[in-house]
Symmetry: C2
Subunit: 256 residues, 2 copies
DNA sequence: ACAAAAGTGTTCGGGTTACACCCATGG
DNA sequence: CCATGGGTGTAACCCGAACACTTTTGT
């Protein structure tokens, strides 16, 4: 029943795969940081030659997340600072030939690490809001991952994953502005970050700039970076903490 | 490679299944509404005789959600008012014999519909916070689904799914109190619901009660009931509507 | 009339927003 | 000493929490 060598072909004819949407911040032509993601070119049918999300089969002796991590390393050499399951896609017609179910993850990597991605004819970075027509339903998947990134940025501390261990508040604010695509008030941003307890000043400052030397901060680790899954949950189901993850802040219509 | 008749056995030895956590509100011994869910007893190894989530295989010609709906109908005769994908569970050791990946959904049903569930030796309702040891990792799954139900109740309109087309504010408040496990101020609850725009008075009142007749309300349908998936999204990723009023201001720490 | 639930009014305080203003450094 | 971003202060405003109070029915 298999028609291509690497497909996972089930007894009922359903293939099982894992893919990952990898986000990184990179400077665009005008020097403004924006959201980018690496794609790989398909080297076989269907969608031969089209750009697609990196992915592959799940081995019998590795977890779903393990498969995602392994695949990331093999195709892009990336070890993400953040990795979370996004959604399982399994519509009947999402692959033209074989029935295919994909468990999709999304990942965040630091800019310096992102630059180490092996670029070539078959791996390339794309601006997230300017993608070509991708293979399968991958445009839909990226849209959803982007929406998740943006809504989650509003209530969680995932911005860390885009930065190194020490950073200025301006750098942190740049991350938020790039992802949320809107300017933030530096004064209010500072206070919100300080009162949140997720960052603390290191005492150091960055000299050599053209103006007043900004302080350096680090993350306290007081909150969970990854909280999406059923595991990795530090808080009880009914507790109310700052790390209380929620999906879809923006879809809010009712409140109680 | 298959060793039991209904398992979906992949070429690499990975089984693929769909399960659903079904929630309904029922009165406990003291008459207070609480969260319940139906479980089915396993009739084969592994975990023969243990209680487990209803579930089954995905057919090649049906979507994941379609498989969940079909399975719900076959095992409990339920047609949920709300159905959303929860998570894909795929740890290597979650099933003792065969490697198994389960796409899990969670569902909400109305109390009247819940009473129609075919009860018997192999199907029974359990109070969500008083479960026995279940098969596989199903205790973990239910815990996660419960956490999802409770956190989502705080910012979305899923409470509808527990009620009929018309309801009093006291009934609606009962739903929130049962799920959130804490009393809510009737006065503030009324105002929040009214200003949210998700409900509107029908003009009718319920007579025959022992006290002042309460008004009946209905849902306006102005909001998405189901919003979790990549489909069913009505709002653009970056849109911020007037009704966006997010609950749980106390959860926001990192937003700017 | 009384009890009890429905429904309204009002105050208080925390948190966000907007923006004025001061600080420190390189040029 | 001036331009520029770093950093602080503050008043207005919004919204939820708390709770007093009025309304309307059945008994």
């Amino acid at each position: 029943m298999a028609h291509t060598g690497l497909d996972i072909d089930t007894a009922s004819g359903i293939g099982l795969a894992v893919s990952t949407v990898i986000f990184a911040l990179r400077r665009d032509e005008r020097g403004a940081p924006t959201v980018w993601l690496p794609l790989v070119r398909r080297t076989r049918e269907p969608y031969l030659g089209r750009w697609a999300l990196p992915g592959g089969m799940v081995r019998v002796d590795e977890s779903l997340e393990g498969a995602a991590r392994r695949n990331l390393g093999e195709t892009t050499r990336l070890e993400p600072a953040y990795l979370e399951q996004l959604y399982a896609f399994g519509d009947v017609d999402r692959s033209p030939d074989q029935r295919m179910v994909s468990i999709v993850y999304w990942a965040l990597v630091r800019p310096d690490e992102a630059e180490r991605v092996t670029l070539g004819e078959n791996v390339r970075w794309f601006a997230a809001d300017d993608l070509p027509d991708l293979a399968f339903d991958h445009n839909l998947i990226v849209d959803y991952a982007l929406w998740r990134l943006r809504t989650k940025m509003e209530y969680s501390a995932i911005a860390h994953a885009f930065l190194g261990p020490r950073f200025t508040l301006a750098e942190l604010r740049e991350v938020y502005e790039a992802v949320l695509q809107r300017p933030l008030d530096p004064a209010n941003f500072r206070r919100q970050m300080e009162t949140s307890g997720v960052i603390e000043p290191t005492g150091e400052v960055v000299t050599g700039g053209r103006h007043r030397p900004p302080r350096l901060y680090r993350y306290t680790g007081a909150v969970d970076l990854v909280d999406a899954g059923p595991l990795n949950r530090r808080t009880a189901p009914d507790s109310r903490t700052a790390t209380d993850s929620r999906t879809a802040t923006e879809h809010l219509r009712t409140s109680a």
